[in-house]
């Protein structure tokens, strides 16, 4: 199989991962699309350097999150409700209004977190263990645990406001 074919297959296979990663760091559809393209571009650029000793998704998370760092725009004063919910609702034939409303709320809460916190909570929501989160972010396992419990507290406070 040609390199292009392997790559497109990989992106198609994991496009949900990329949609979600890019939605965490952006607050509108246009920025998300820009970031999505930039991440795909970076993945392609470094595709030859991917070593099979790492899990492909771990590598993708790392490239996506590292790319997002330089992409973050200045925080807006008023957090807006968000992109992937829009992408998702336009993609789906039978819209789930309840889910959409919950996603809007979810993204509103995430907008209150800083870049590090967003990255950590994203990986947690993705079902990653503290060890995996540590591998992707470069933090120690215990540090991940401490920070995540702090983020949970912060989210809880925001939710009850």
């Amino acid at each position: 199989m040609q390199k292009e074919e392997v790559f497109t297959e990989l992106i198609r296979e994991h496009q949900a991962l990329l949609y979600k990663a890019t939605s965490i760091y952006t607050d509108n559809k246009e920025d998300q699309e820009d970031l999505f393209q930039e991440v795909v571009f970076q993945l392609w650029k470094y595709f030859d350097s991917f070593r099979n000793d790492a899990k492909i998704t771990t590598w993708m998370y790392r490239v996506a999150m590292n790319t997002a760092i330089t992409f973050i725009k200045k925080k807006k004063r008023k957090p807006k409700s968000v992109s992937v919910a829009d992408v998702f609702s336009t993609q789906s034939d039978d819209k789930d209004d309840v889910l959409e409303e919950r996603l809007k709320l979810l993204y509103q809460h995430l907008q209150h977190l800083n870049t590090l916190e967003r990255g950590l909570i994203f990986l947690l929501l993705e079902g990653k263990s503290y060890k995996e989160i540590a591998t992707i972010t470069g933090l120690s396992d215990t540090n991940v645990g401490t920070k995540i419990s702090r983020i949970k507290k912060k989210l809880k406070t925001n939710m009850t406001k």
Binding site: E4, Q15, N66, T70, V84, D96, L116, G138
Partner: protein, 199 residues
Amino acid sequence: MELEELQSAWTQMSNEINHQKKLTNQIILDMTKQKYQNKFTTITKYETLGAIICFAIALVILINFQKLDTWYLKVCGILTLSFLIVLPAMVLSTLKRIKNIDILNGSYKENLKLYVKTKNRLLRLQQIGIAVGLIGLVFIVPVTSKIISNKNVFLTSLKTEQYIIFTITMVIMVFFCKWAYNGYLKVTRSAQELLQDLE
């Protein structure tokens, strides 16, 4: 909304998106080749353009430096040249540092730390640029006036309307500096918190 609900909404969304394979091979391949614009390349473009303009003006001053025939005009010329060369060069080197962030091997933590620090440096340079620009009026105006119209403003008495224009410009610049500085403080404060979090 409870934390558990966040998790369940996320999982439900993941399941839905997983079933939607919207991207075609062609779209993906376009993304790997397309020369599209993103926010960062736009910033770099404006900063580079600004730097080129500054360097061009510096070159014109250098070529005409002999026209600055008194010691104080020469001092103004040197200060203007420093302002036009050093600051843009520092901004460009800072932008280069951001562009060189190791996306492949660097950890999220280290990259984030480097990015926040470099971004702070960029903001600081922009602040210095504004402040020096304000003070710079004192030394840039005599240099350009001498080079363009061969007038030594130190020896020319200003008309009333020129005094008014000068005063209004200074007042506007002071307010602009104050506004920009407040914005800078706000951004760096949150950046500082993030850096502490990363330690």
